[in-house]
C-alpha cells in the first residue's frame, strides 16, 4: 500500500517536472529541473528494489551531469530570446499532434504484452537468472548476486563497459581537454568568437 502511494507521488512529481522542463525557457532552470528529474527517478529505482541503479542515477544523473551541464552553460553564450519565438512556423500544430498520438498509442499497445513487474514467468527470469540465483553464492562466495554476475559470470561485458568509459574520457580529452595556448595564433575576429 505504502509502495503504491510513494510510486504515485514520485510519478506525479516526475510528470510535473517533465512538463515544467517543456514549458520553461530559462536554460539554467531547465538544467536544475533535469537534476530534480534524475533524483526522482533514483527514488523510483529505490522503490523498485534496484539500489545499484539508484546510486548511479543519483550520482551521475542528479550530480555530475548537472554540474557538466552548468559548466557547458557557462561556456556558451546565452541568447537574448528563446530562438523559437523568432523562428517562423513552418507547419500546422495538428501534424506533430497526430504523430505523437499515433506513436504514443503504439507504445501503449506494446506495453500490454510486457510481463508484469517482477513476474516470475517473465522471459528474463526463466533463462539464466535461475541458474545465477541458485548457484552464484555457492560458486563465487559472494552474497550479492548482482556483483557476482557483473564481475564474474559476465566479466567480459564489464571489461567492455570499462573500456567504453575509458574511451569516452579519452575522446573528451582529445576534443576539449587540451589547455589552450595563452595567445592563440588566429585573426582577431576568430579569436573573439573563440573566447566567448
Amino acid at each position: 500500500m505504502i509502495d503504491i502511494v510513494i510510486n504515485i507521488t514520485l510519478l506525479a512529481f516526475l510528470a510535473i517536472t517533465a512538463v515544467g522542463i517543456l514549458r520553461l525557457t530559462n536554460l539554467f532552470a531547465i538544467v536544475m529541473l533535469y537534476g530534480v528529474f534524475s533524483l526522482l527517478s533514483a527514488g523510483l529505482f529505490v522503490v523498485m528494489d534496484a539500489p545499484d541503479v539508484a546510486f548511479t542515477e543519483a550520482a551521475v544523473g542528479a550530480g555530475i551531469s548537472t554540474v557538466l551541464m552548468l559548466a557547458t552553460l557557462a561556456l556558451v553564450k546565452r541568447p537574448q530570446k528563446p530562438y523559437y519565438d523568432e523562428a517562423p512556423q513552418t507547419h500546422r500544430p495538428w501534424l506533430p499532434l497526430i504523430v505523437v498520438i499515433i506513436t504514443g498509442s503504439a507504445l501503449v499497445h506494446g506495453t500490454w504484452d510486457i510481463p508484469g513487474f517482477g513476474a516470475a514467468d517473465a522471459p528474463a527470469q526463466t533463462h539464466v537468472a535461475r541458474y545465477y540465483i541458485d548457484n552464484a553464492t555457492r560458486e563465487t562466495g559472494v552474497p550479492n548476486v548482482v556483483t557476482a554476475v557483473l564481475a564474474s559470470y559476465r566479466g567480459f561485458d564489464t571489461l567492455g563497459e570499462v573500456v567504453v568509459v575509458y574511451t569516452a574520457g579519452v575522446a573528451v580529452l582529445l576534443l576539449i581537454g587540451g589547455r589552450r595556448p595563452k595567445k592563440a595564433p588566429v585573426t582577431k575576429n576568430e579569436g573573439e568568437q573563440d573566447e566567448t
Binding site: P51, S152, V163, V172
Partner: protein, 139 residues
C-alpha cells in the same frame, strides 16, 4: 563561491562522509548494493563538490590532471591484467578460480581486483570530464 563561509563549512563536513561512503560501496559491493562503478561515481562527486567550493586551481593541486590520465588507464590495466594473470596461471581469460587456493578464494580476490579497476577508471574519467568542461572557460 570562494568566500562563502556556509558552503565551506558544510562541504568540509560532507566531503569526508561522501568519500567514506564511496569506499564502503567499493569494498562492500560483494555483500551490499553497489560496486566499482557506483563507488567511482560517488568518489568523483566528492572531489567535484570540493573543486566547486574551493575552485578548480586548488583541486588540481590535490589531484593533477596528468595523474587522472594515468589513473584512468591504470583501472583498465588492472581489469585486463587480472585476465592475463589468470591466463598465465593456466586458466581461461578472466577465470578467477585459478587465482586463489580454492574456488571461493579465487573468485573473491578476482572480483575485488576487478571492481577496484572499474572504480579507479570511472572515478578518474568522471574527474577528467569535469576538469575538461570546467577548465575550458578559463583564460
Amino acid at each position: 563561491m570562494r568566500h562563502n563561509l556556509i558552503l565551506h563549512v558544510i562541504a568540509k563536513f560532507v566531503i569526508p562522509l561522501i568519500i567514506l561512503f564511496a569506499l564502503y560501496v567499493q569494498f562492500h559491493g560483494d555483500f551490499g548494493p553497489g560496486g566499482g562503478f557506483q563507488a567511482g561515481v560517488i568518489f568523483s562527486a566528492a572531489l567535484i563538490l570540493y573543486s566547486l567550493v574551493v575552485g578548480l586551481d586548488v583541486a588540481e593541486r590535490i589531484i593533477p590532471a596528468h595523474w587522472l590520465r594515468i589513473l584512468a588507464a591504470l583501472g583498465v590495466f588492472i581489469y585486463a591484467g587480472v585476465g592475463v594473470v589468470s591466463m598465465l596461471l593456466g586458466g581461461n581469460y578472466l577465470d578467477y578460480t585459478i587465482l586463489g587456493s580454492n574456488q571461493i578464494a579465487g573468485q573473491h580476490l578476482g572480483i575485488l581486483l576487478v571492481e577496484l579497476g572499474v572504480g579507479i577508471t570511472v572515478a578518474a574519467v568522471m574527474l577528467i570530464l569535469f576538469y575538461a568542461f570546467a577548465g575550458r572557460g578559463r583564460q
